[in-house]
Amino acid sequence: MRRLNAYALTFRLPIIIWQAIFFIGPLFFMIAMSFFLVKNYRMVEAFEFKNWDKMLSRNYVWDSYWYTLGLAALSSAVASLVAFPAAFALAYRSSESVRRWAIFLLIIPFFTSYLVRTFSWYVILAESGVINAGLGYIGLGPYTMLNTMFGTIVGYMTLTLPLVVILQTVSLASADRSLIQASQNLGCPPWRTIFAVILPAAKTGLIVAALFAFILSFGDFVAPYYLGGSKPPTLPILIIDTTKAGQQWPRAAVVAVIMMVTLFVVAFTAIFLAYRKRGSK
């Protein structure tokens, strides 16, 4: 066995302890809690499959699951598509200093609370809001945008778009430019270069950016609740509702475990695709 390097261990120890106390510990507790029972609005330790039976056999749980999964996938796709032109322009059509400033400005939204940014959409999207007032001038609308899936996606974009643009910009900017010239030298027209060279060359970063958008959207409570009107409820809303209804923490834990497992599968698949190489070794 390799001797443990005391020096290296000293520097690794804090992160290991931190992860053990605040991530792995609670995770195992949550898994354990999903087997507890609730009697007279009080949780009692047990090892029963009742919560799992109940939650997995209910249609509304599955409806919510597929809805949340679809919504997060849609959010991830929309964020990736909307971000790409901006990231492309920043990576290939801007000077170094413009790129630096743009990335700085993209970080600014994170300075204010996500909740505040979400509420500010009320003013813009409401029936009597800014957009409908504008459309009213040219004889259109009003359109209902709050409490719809559109509203939810707008909220998700508020959460994910700056990050996705930053990640895409960084990965595009660090892709090898000589490959672009090489492709044109071999007869590839500029527009085709995007699909033939740039996307494959920046693949890892683009997939990781999409993965972040998926993870953030999948677990987000604020956008579907305040802008989407919580109908139909996503899994995070379901968790809140379940804990409120008769102190059903164990059933909420079941939903949370299902979400964790889903994210593990999605993240592993995405990372595998991101780093997959062509051809045999």
Binding site: L179, A182, Q184, G187, P190, A196
Partner: protein, 363 residues
Amino acid sequence: MNEPLVVLDGVQKNFGDFFAVKRADLTIEAGEFIAIMGPSGCGKTTTLRMLAGLEAPSAGDIRIGGKRMNDVPPHQRDTPMVWQSLALFPFLNVRENVEFGLKMRGVSTAERRRRAFDWIERLEIGEFAERNIETLSGGQKQRVALARSLITEPQLLLLDEPLSALDAHLVIRMQGVLARLQRELGITFVYVTHSHSEAFAMADRVVIMSQGEIAQIGNPREIYRTPANRFVAEFVGRNNILTGTIESSDTDQVTINSVIGNFSAPTEGIHQEPGSLASIVIAADMVRITREATDAENTVVATLISEEFVGSIVTLFLEAADGTEFKVQLQERALTDLDVHAGGQFHLSWATADAHLLPENNG
């Protein structure tokens, strides 16, 4: 129309105040192997990139096959380039890399696969066809890059220091591969390098560039034996350059006077006024070295400083009384009779016919 394949007519390229290429006039015949050589920053790579359309000339015309190419974008030319960095696509395997050019030209899958395998076989990388690029060695990657560039069977292949990243023994092997391919295919090669050995070993003609200008164009022998100016004489190396004032000049022979003696060279039709400065060049392998004085035409006494062995060739570095440096190149076996040791005194001599008067004294 009998125009050469490539014509550079007063081509200039500047990036703001910096003139990468000040003026280039060059014609390249179909089937030629041209090497463009010079120190870094001399404009050789910029010239090559203009042929590929990756840079647009600031002035002058580039014509390929009789057609003015100045405004033709790179993807509409058939001027593939082998890059110094190779620029192979890491997300494609060997065969897909090779097929790329045909795919862009809309060749059917079956056809391009067949042609890709032909080239892969020809360059002896058949067993790696489905491999990931990153698993190949430097020499194998080099062959992939060549196959990728040649698959469209272009008239003109551009090579930008393609062998600079390879080990010395692989460079020699790839030189053989390149020279053979060029001969068999009859494709025009334009080969940019800073290495004398690569340029002289392969090229039909060598273009020497310096500070954005063409210093000399000629076959390797001409460049080596009759350098056009001091820069070329120094750049190709292994030349002794002697500067002095012209003592006498008649129709056949010119004699210059320097601190270490009088030396003669054929005039080669150049007339220079007595009293003006002039330089003559004697190639290192034309200098004889002896222990005893000889009655040769041109002689100098010099002290041995050091020696350098490359294979069976040895180069001796000597210094004359006034500090003028001399290089003498000879076969290693010739050393045995000479008793060389640093600090020893030797007599150097050469025939007047082997000396070369620099046409212009620009140094």
